[in-house]
């Protein structure tokens, strides 16, 4: 049993295809693991035991009939609870959608099912994906498998914790300001935010529509690439979906190399607030890239200093608008409908009861930033910053093929430490936000443990729009070099739960 859960997704799929393992065996092994450890970790909000086993049985039957299986057929996956799943609860980590059973599948859910990926259940997250620690979930926090008293990152902390505790070899996240990459960094896993528009947002509960992007989470670069290829592609149901071929990510992940590549290091991504051990591992990664044949180029991106401020105006503004749909009238929670209150009062009472503090904060912040009199100074300026950030990236990518940085300034912080200090929490996304504002692609992969606390550090790789394959080419080379140096994948060093 232990062996099955330690396999990579690629290995698992191979063993199922060859008949060495059945999909049902694989699914049962992971369900048993969830049963054994998730009481401690709390990665899942809902485990769909019956649905998962039915999907697994279907894969085994397909194989028995001699049908060709896809590259991830029978591999279990943990799905962030932000994607709708027909007949399976979808809460977005919020009380306002507690008990809601969506009548339809998100496009991403459909694609996973069509690829015979086995969906084990829905993972915990910061409410409406607003947060960097998963503490904002209305259903309680998730523990980091490296140290259960610490945060697993956020908003996709359930997905990253499920991977790091071997409850699933694959997971799905969404990244609005770093919610795939920061959880990956602090749990020693791999997470990719594809180019904006690469993965359909249809059926993904909206937080900030011009920034939100679904993407793959895994324990290896190749596994992330295999999942990327399954979920990406044009969707007519999402008007912002890119109508172009998916970059060759799997091929890139199988042919990792940085020889002859120009790699940028941005001077704005260091300084005050960065943990010394994080910077030490980052600097070693840069040295490693040099040894592997890359040329390092120093870059100056002055607008990045304004990225966090612009983000905390743009994202709340879009959120205040998007979340207007939660009105207690058509679906989800309704509070105060006792015949004495008007529809409007019921809406206000419902939203008060259904939203947690961070969601309320962001709705009000957005309402403020968009109000006349303040719109130009706040939202308008933030949009200009967005242009400047795109221009800085454009200039940078004239000089380099990819950019590298630490994924997050610190390792996992203790649960509760920043819970009531929003600005401290927001700093966790300092290095990940510029990419969301510009729309290009980025990955986080493990680059070691910080010496001072023995917790994972993430290396971020950033590529231009629609050059997602470069992330995998560089990521695979770096991963292989690190695994060789360490003698094993980083997660081998995580405590057994």
């Amino acid at each position: 049993m232990t062996d099955i859960i330690k396999l990579t997704a690629a290995e698992t799929a191979e063993k199922i295809a060859s008949g060495e393992l059945t999909a049902v065996e694989v699914t049962e092994a992971h369900l048993a693991r969830i049963e054994a450890v998730d009481e401690k970790v709390h990665a899942f909000l809902h485990v769909d035991r019956e649905g998962a086993l039915a999907q697994a049985r279907a894969v085994d039957e397909k194989r028995a009939r001699g049908e060709k299986l896809g590259p991830l057929a029978g591999v279990p996956l943990a799905l962030k609870d932000i994607f709708t799943t027909e007949g399976v609860p979808t809460t977005v980590g919020s009380k306002i959608l507690e008990g809601w059973i969506p009548p339809y599948d998100a496009t991403l859910t459909k694609r996973l099912k069509a690829a015979d990926v086995v969906i084990l259940g829905k993972t915990n997250m910061d409410e409406f994906a607003m947060g960097s620690s998963t503490e904002n979930s209305a259903y309680g926090p998730t523990g980091n498998p490296w140290d259960l008293t610490r945060i697993p990152g956020g908003s996709g902390g359930g997905s990253s914790a499920a991977l790091a505790s071997f409850q699933a070899p694959l997971a799905i996240g969404t990244d609005t300001g770093g919610s795939i990459r920061q959880p990956a960094a602090v749990t020693g896993t791999v997470g990719v935010k594809p180019t904006y528009g690469a993965v359909s947002r249809y059926g993904m509960v909206a937080f900030s529509s011009s920034l939100d992007q679904g993407g793959p989470c895994a324990r290896t670069v190749l596994d992330a690439a295999l999942l990327h290829e399954v979920i990406a592609g044009h969707d007519p149901m999402d008007s912002t979906s890119i109508d172009a071929p998916v970059p060759p990510v799997v091929e890139a992940a199988r042919n990792g190399s940085v020889a002859g590549m120009r790699v940028g290091v941005v001077k704005q991504f260091r300084g005050e607030g960065y943990q010394p051990g994080v910077m030490q591992r980052f600097d070693e990664s840069v040295e490693l890239l040099k040894e592997l044949g890359a040329e390092i180029v120093e870059l100056d991106c002055p607008s990045f200093d304004l990225a966090l401020s612009a983000y905390y105006l743009i994202a709340p503004s879009e959120c205040s608008s998007n979340l207007a749909r939660f009105d207690g009238l058509r679906y989800g929670l309704r509070t105060g409908d006792d015949g004495t209150h008007s529809a409007e009062e019921v809406t206000s009472l419902t939203r008060e009861a259904g939203f947690g503090p961070e969601v309320k904060r962001r709705i009000m912040l957005g309402t403020y930033a968009l109000s006349s009199g303040y719109y130009d100074a706040y939202y308008g300026s933030a949009q200009k910053v967005r242009t400047l950030i795109k221009q800085d990236f454009d200039t940078a990518f004239e000089q380099v093929d990819v950019i590298v940085s630490p994924t997050t300034p610190t390792t996992a912080f203790p649960i509760g430490e920043r819970a009531d200090d929003p600005m401290a929490m927001y700093l966790a996304d300092l290095c990940t936000i510029p990419t969301n504002l510009a729309g290009n692609a980025a990955m986080s992969l493990p680059c070691g443990l910080a010496p001072e606390d023995n917790l994972p550090v993430g290396l971020q790789i950033i590529a231009p729009v629609m050059k997602d394959d470069r992330l995998y080419k560089v990521g695979a080379a770096v991963e292989a070099a690190f695994v060789e140096k360490w003698g094993h994948p980083l997660l081998e060093e995580a405590p057994s739960l």
Binding site: M204, T240, M364, A377
Partner: protein, 185 residues
Amino acid sequence: MSLCVPKSDESVIVRDAELLSGDDVVTAERGDLVVVPSGRPHRPGRGAGRRRGTPRPGNAEKPLHGHRAPPHRIGSKPHTLTPEERCMPGITREEVAHLARLARLELKPEELDHFAGQLDDIIGAVARVSEVADRDVPPTSHPLPLTNVMRADEVRPSLTPEQALSGAPAQEQQRFKVPQILGEE
């Protein structure tokens, strides 16, 4: 298909009537809060963050009710704060209560106090963006240069009425049943 809920003389929320579709609000357009001036008197502008000497509110002729910006426009000199204004917190409890009302959040009294301090801190920090307010840079609202992506106007399968109503808090005669919307007159 949108649902307009009128709210006194001040504002209406235009709601997106689609269930979580992928084609949702990209910037503040649909689902936005549309604020209609009520012409009531107001205090001099005390936008949060301004005490830190940054943003320049514009569009003064369309004030947010009860929370109007000082009467000057973008491009003019920043509003000089009076000593009295400088001492005041950037965002007050009353202003938070107003924002909560606009955002349809029935906040508890203790929440108002808590949020006032936090919103003040956040707005003070993010107000840095106004450093670029005067720069001649086009705004970016979206990472992709897309406009009006249309699909063919063809009938296609959709949710059945039963499916569409499956999450309704209350329903009657195959319709969403909602509390009273218009006052009895």
